[in-house]
Amino acid sequence: MVDAARHPNIELMTFSEVKKCEGYVGNFRVTIEHKPRYVRETCNACRNCLDVCPIHVPSEFDLGLSYRHAIYQPFAQAVPSTFVVDPKSCIHCYRCVDVCDLQSVDFSQEAREEVVDVGAVILSTGFDVFDPTALSEYGYGRYDNVITSMDLERLLDPGGPTKGSLIKPSDFKRPDRISFIQCAGSRDKKYNVYCSGYCCMASLKTAIHIKEKYPDVEVAVFYMDIRTPYKGYEEFFTRARKAGVIFIQGKPSEIAPAGGEDHLSVYAEDRDEGRPVEWETDLVVLATGAVPSAGTQELSSIMTASLDETGFFREYHPKLRPVDAPTEGVFFAGASCGSKDIPYSVAQGSAAAARASRVLMKESLVIEPIVARADAALCRNVGKKCGICVTRCPFGAISAEPGEAAVIHSAKCMGCGTCVAECPTGAITQAHFHDLQIYAQIQSQLKRNPEDKILAFMCWWCSYPGADNAGVNHLQYPASSRGIRVMCAGRIKRDFVLEAFRRGAGMVLVSGCHPQDCHYLTGQHYAEKRMTAMPGRLEKMGISPERFRVEWISAAEGEKYARVITEMHQTLETLGKVRIREENEAVLTELDKRLAHVPDLIQPHSD
């Protein structure tokens, strides 16, 4: 951090908060609030004020293991090295003002806002440590000698509250036996379902550190699985075993006081021996995992960056675009989008910087022309509250102020077309995938012998390549399918399906990416929602529901595509041409009425 602060091209804004972020890639306008320190930049950290400040409150940095004054430096290497006044604990005695030689203490400071124009934004908000108080069976907060790995980290720090000597919090004496409990609150349905990834290595590191410093201390690690997958990690695990650390496979069920003094018993099953054990120990260390840092929720609404089910930021694609936010020009570094250890965070930080520089280096950016446009004259939001499109867009590209027509920002639009399909008044159109273009495709595909055909709507990224895959792999399937490719399953309107049946289609298939694989994050979700009710509606009209099918087919599932088409072809043959024709004729009047807005775009078949 000191290096970053000294760098001529880096401006650090500490003790500041992002309040608002407007604009789009290359042209973000960010409002930042600088909070008052009540100490000017001139402070040279001479510590005179510390001698006079009468206030003592638990230190946040030392996790309450030591005290700090109301005027303080958060930690020794803090940047900038100026002090700060904590307005919550300060009693305004102003002794620090009197004693400050440089006249740096200034209680007249107020929060001020600054607006900066930036080209790209990197979210690196880190993580918070899980609070194990909820794990009542482990008694954190109830037993003095149950601590977290972060507490232990402070105890072992040479600059920490104990100057690096290991003690038990109950009597400040050295513990003879230490037990680590892995996965405290991690990989647990009740708390965090995910593996935080770093706790195994953190505990191994601390265990080795203790063994090297105090060889006679017994160190036991209770674990479900030790996860050491990256370079040099497994070797480190071996080193820990050789150092004499005891590894017991079994998640402890309970910690209870054992007899007199302040001993604790860890109740667990020793899986290697296949029997329950009662492990007496002096100090229990809970290896707590990562949770999203406080304020992530607020930041997500400021940045229109969605969160995943664990509460961390959601990447554009978990495998292929792990550094990018769905919004163009916004990137992630470190644990903001999921728990990471140091090497992984460093790698992602460098990647995010490189991704951001790609944006900054260009004079202008070229975007895909396939974007949605809203027609202000048709927008329903003018008359009454609508804003459906705003909720459907995962990229925050649409804004609809009350009483005003929705506006789509082309630079932010990724072109999935979900808003186009969801707009109740048809005010939104998509360039290159205009409704009329798609209707024309439907009509032309069903120009000849429509009842023999399976009309397949496919998304650009998964299902169409899936069908391609079937061809590349020379998989045999009936030649009755006709494909229409759209950007995303979210673009497929109900009217498209009805139009297909109006034009006499034998079968209709709607296909897209698998859930959670959608290249536009939520398009598949809305397609599924829209299409679930479809079979029932068709049945009510008089069309056999088996003539309509929804399947999620990935780009690698050529075999599935071939199978689905084969099955659909079989259904088609079972139903028979006559019945299909009859059904279609029976619903024609109703469909004609419903689809009155769809013109005939193709000349009728002449030969």
């Binding site: 069976e137 996965c183 990989r187 647990d188 349905k189 009740k190 479900m224 699985d225 496979q249 079994g250 998640k251 402890p252 069920s253 309970e254 109740y267 667990a268 099953e269 020793d270 899986r271 296949g274 029997r275 329950p276 054990v277 009662e278």
Partner: protein, 174 residues
């Protein structure tokens, strides 16, 4: 084993049991397992997941479960271990493998309304201490009505010991 398979399936238990980490939190906290190492909930779940149901039904140790639900409380995957064991117990009883004492106790409840009959020595001690006569057990008639409404009586029938069915003969635990 089809009956047990179906009972478990009806509650979606085998699928949920598959999420088991085999972490041993259930076995570590089990108050029964602390004294009887042959009662190990983790191993029972493992046996279920591996599909060796007959092994489990023939295992007399399952009858030790006191259904205190500590396992469920401690399980990071929230697997209903004792629920599964309950179904296994039922299947075991249906094969006439219920322990004699349990069957006797069930019988006593149905005939006297008491799970344990007060013995003479206790009654004598009570009168010596000037304590009143022990309250009568639940009315047997009431109990029978309840049993009927819950189709419990039919369950009680199958509870009675009878010769083991051939499929339990190959029990490796014996």
């Amino acid at each position: 084993m089809e009956d047990l398979k179906e009972h478990l399936k009806a509650f979606d238990l085998p699928v949920r049991a598959r999420a088991c980490y085999q972490c041993g939190a259930c076995a570590g906290g089990c108050p029964v397992g602390r004294y009887r190492w042959d009662f190990n909930p983790r191993r029972f779940i493992e046996t279920i997941v591996r599909g060796r149901l007959e092994e489990l039904v023939g295992n007399p140790a399952i009858w030790l479960c006191s259904h205190c639900l500590t396992c469920l409380e401690r399980c990071p995957q929230q697997i209903e271990v004792s629920e599964i064991i309950m179904h296994v117990k039922n299947a075991s009883a249906r094969r006439g493998l219920a322990p004699e004492n349990d069957v006797k106790m069930a019988d006593r409840i149905m005939t006297h309304g008491w799970s344990e009959e007060p013995i003479k020595r206790i009654l004598k001690k009570r009168s010596q201490l000037g304590l009143p006569e022990p309250a009568p057990g639940i009315s047997v008639d009431e109990l029978e009505a309840l049993a009927l409404s819950l189709s419990w009586a039919a369950k009680m029938e199958i509870f009675k010991p009878r010769p083991a069915e051939p499929e339990t003969d190959g029990n490796p635990a014996e």
